[in-house]
Amino acid sequence: MSTVISPSHNIFTRIKGFRVNNFRLYLGLFIIVVVIAMAFFASYLTKFSPIQQDLVNTLQGGSAKHFLGTDNLGRDIWSRLLYGGRTDLFLASAAVLAPFIIGTFIGAICGYFSGWIDTLVMRIADVVVAFPFYVLVISLVFILGNGVSSIFIAISIVSWVSYARIVRGETMIVRSKEFIEAAQTGGISNRKIITRHVLPNVITQAVVYAMSDIVLNIGVIVTLSYFGLGIVPPTPDWGRMIAEGQQFLAGGYYYLTVLPAVAVIISSLGLSFIGDGLAVVLRVKR
């Protein structure tokens, strides 16, 4: 057991061991705050509608009027990027929430009680994982039909497994710790032991994973709409922008594809930095 002695005079170190010099966390937070703010205040940052076509001015380069130019239908790329971010980031984050809660809950129960319920749930998880991720998600979206809610459901059905497995493994480690026995000798109910003693000790890994899971979800959503599944036009979204811009690559209009791709990369980087930073901040001290 390594003992971390934190200087008690520093207010930050007294709040759950907050580390002030966590560069990656702050860089990630900065990127994501900026990206989210841009998506949120999209209507203030552009005067063009993302779906308003202007067939006279198609495929224009950057200009004073259209900051990043226009696409093949004359839509302003800058506003499509902003509103597309709104769609993608919101959906990606929302699609993390349900699997996070369900998976964590199931994982904690399986890890804590083990026995037949653990075996049953983990075999179901094996079945879900046995299918390649994209094949399963694409078929689910195909079955459920296009639309935001079917993406949401498809991702939830598949990705709770990761949370369940992570939390189950961590729970099995924590479960053998003496403080769980100590709680049992205090006559505390299993429900309270799980919620008050197990979960706070295992949630870190799930939270860190959730950050990279949002990244993964952005990838899924972008990929699905690239294939023409999920988000229905004319809703602006980065995947569709990449797919549509592709046909004009040969004509030299690379920015139609590259700009939304850069948006995906920047958001993913920011979230990954947050994930790494959180892993450091939330590390359990003994």
Binding site: F179, G186, G187, R196, V284, R286
Partner: protein
């Protein structure tokens, strides 16, 4: 002296079997002892003698490959081993509580110590958050933690080992139990802190009239704290008495004699310390014969037959390197 006292805990003919690599081994056999109300019994023995296993059997914390095969553990007149542990569940915390050996792992690293102290209390009462906090501060004061108002919101990593053990003890007494099981609570602490914790136990005994079952390999601690003693060897009790002084002044069983002579004395003659040459055989190498019945030296003092403990093995070091 203690015949009048009511027994709060009566362990009778306890046998515990461990399944290792597909075979059953008798880990504990024919273990019987009482803890009288308001009294403290020390359960001493080497590592692996089964003393901790006995405690765990009482608390229902046996590992999955270990089970109680016979015997009874009567607490306040009812068998803890009956009714699938329902009765036990109802007395855990409120009737019996436990202090663990390693306070650094027996406390939840991400929970404030104040909350951990009253965790069990909140479970068994309808205290609200503010009342529980007040109670935690009182308890911390009672176990000798300075500045409890400031300390109550600390996390375990901010406390020293001795302080953590005080927190454990505060949690153990929170619900006002009649019996506290102590699993070597001073072993992980350094000597000066050990003395403080033992003083704390003494103080709590006289203030709260709580009974103790104190497991340790440190016979000196037992001498200071306990009224009664049971000496365990290789999963059996070899000697026990309700009056600890009898065993200390005239140990009857050779193993007890050996154990006592292994304590260095500051006022004794200067000579080579007689140690125990060999430790008890490990569980899988042990004789699987059932423990022989104990014989009474006098009422409240009994010993196992000498041949039980493998004394030849214990004393001879000639053909052993």
């Amino acid at each position: 002296m203690m015949s009048a006292a009511v027994n709060i805990l009566e362990v009778a003919n306890l046998q515990i079997v461990a399944r290792i690599a597909g075979r059953d081994y008798i880990a504990i056999d024919n273990v019987s002892f009482n803890v009288a109300a308001g009294h403290a019994r020390g359960l001493v023995g080497e590592s692996g003698s089964g003393k901790s296993l006995t405690l765990r059997a009482i608390m229902g914390l046996l590992p999955s490959n270990v089970r109680v095969t016979s015997g009874s553990i009567i607490f306040r007149g009812t068998d803890l081993l009956a009714d699938k542990g329902k009765y036990r569940k109802s007395v855990l915390g409120t009737g019996i509580s436990m202090v663990f050996q390693e306070p650094s792992v027996a406390l939840n690293p991400v929970m404030k110590i104040g909350k951990q102290i009253t965790d069990s209390l909140v479970e068994h009462s309808d205290l609200n958050r503010r009342q529980a906090r007040e109670r935690a501060i009182d308890l911390m004061d009672q176990v000798g933690i300075r500045d409890p108002q400031k300390r109550v919101d600390d996390f375990p990593f901010q406390l020293s080992g001795g302080m953590k053990q005080r927190v454990m003890i505060a949690a153990a007494i929170a619900c006002g139990p009649e019996l506290i099981l102590c699993d070597e609570p001073t072993t992980a602490l350094d000597v000066t802190i050990q003395a403080q914790i033992i003083d704390l136990f003494k103080k709590l005994r006289s203030e709260l009239k709580v009974s103790l079952l104190y497991v340790t390999h440190d016979i000196g601690v037992v001498a200071e704290l306990c009224d009664a003693i049971s000496v365990m060897y290789s999963g059996r009790i070899v000697e026990q008495a309700d009056d600890i002084n009898k065993v200390f002044s005239h140990p009857k069983h050779p193993y007890t004699q050996a154990l006592l002579s292994a304590i260095p004395r500051i006022d004794g003659p200067i000579e080579r310390l007689k140690g125990l040459e060999n430790t008890a055989p490990s569980l899988t190498h042990r004789s699987q014969e059932l423990a022989p019945p104990m014989t009474q030296v006098e009422p409240g003092w009994e010993i196992a037959p000498f041949e039980f403990a493998d004394l030849d093995q214990l004393w001879s070091s000639a053909n052993h390197d």
